[in-house]
């Protein structure tokens, strides 16, 4: 009889003689506990933390790049006239409004500024 089995039986005998025994005991009771004890503990070292931060940063950069390319209009502005040029990307008509326009935030807006708008 091996050591473990002998100890188990001696334990059962003592429990029975002391009238401190349950109706049944699972055969794998001790092995279940030993499995939990022997389970490798995840190490939180510098390398693991660095790897986590690097993967988070990479994910953030890729997300920003995707969002930028999907959500932003690719409008090209040019100082010269584009009337006779071939248009390759979306355009928006803009006028130079710097000349007579006043600050739109002014509480009292003159008639000129309204016109300008």
């Amino acid at each position: 009889m091996n050591d473990i089995k002998n100890i188990k039986l001696t334990g059962f005998v003592k429990a029975i003689l002391k009238k401190e025994y349950p109706l049944y005991v699972s055969k794998d009771f001790s092995s279940k506990i030993m499995k939990q004890i022997n389970r490798p503990v995840q190490e939180y070292n510098f390398f693991n933390y660095g790897l986590r931060i690097a993967s988070a940063m990479t994910f953030a950069v890729i997300t920003l790049f995707v969002m930028d390319s999907v959500l932003t209009d690719k409008i090209q502005y040019s100082k010269s006239s584009t009337i006779n040029q071939e248009i390759l990307s979306p355009t928006r008509n803009v006028a130079n409004q710097m000349e007579k326009c006043e600050d739109a935030k002014d509480s009292i807006q003159s008639s000129d500024s309204l016109k300008c708008k």
Partner: protein
């Protein structure tokens, strides 16, 4: 205070983890029985006992050997059982449990059925009692003094007026007879 478990525990503390299985095997029946007094369900008693053994293992470095290891483990098991009762009461407060389901739960724990892959302690107890009653009086006495009354070898020597060596050899013989009687119930391992 002399503790029979000290050499094994010292080995465990110094890194021989596998020796803890000896401790579990030695006390599992008594600890599960203790937990059952609180849980009233065998599956739950095993779960709580498991938690108690794990807690004891994790706190082994803090154990100062000022008491016997079993007394310490016993206290841990009681605390785990009380925590179990408290958590169960909290769940009961949240849930609406019908009277029938409560009875079913209690019945599940106290039914005499032995699940597959478990030792039937009732059958083993009947066997041990009959073998113990059939032992010669001198062997029965040493078993009673040591395993039932928890006397030290010195105390046993005073009671029996026998040298410690003789007591140890009688005890060894008696235990061998008793454990051999249980062997056939664990042959499938």
């Amino acid at each position: 205070m002399q503790d029979d478990d000290r050499p094994v525990l010292d080995e465990i503390i110094s890194g021989n983890i596998s020796k803890y299985e000896m401790i579990i095997n030695k006390y599992q029946a008594r600890i599960i029985s203790l937990c059952f007094r609180y849980t009233k369900s065998y599956p739950d008693a095993e779960e709580v006992a498991q938690e108690a053994f794990l807690k004891a293992y994790n706190s082994l470095n803090k154990f100062r050997f000022e008491s016997k290891f079993y007394s310490w483990l016993h206290r841990i098991a009681i605390n785990c059982s009380l925590n179990y009762i408290n958590s169960k009461e909290k769940i009961k407060e949240k849930e609406t449990i019908s009277e029938n389901s409560g009875l079913t739960e209690h019945g599940r724990g106290s039914s005499g059925e032995t699940p597959y892959n478990a030792y039937n302690m009732q059958i083993m107890a009947e066997k041990i009692e009959s073998v113990y009653n059939g032992l010669p009086e001198d062997l029965k006495l040493v078993i009673k003094l040591r395993d039932i009354d928890d006397l030290s070898y010195d105390e046993m020597s005073k009671v029996t007026k026998l040298p410690t060596g003789t007591i140890k050899s009688k005890l060894h013989r008696a235990r061998e007879i008793l454990t051999r009687a249980l062997e056939k119930y664990t042959e499938d391992e």
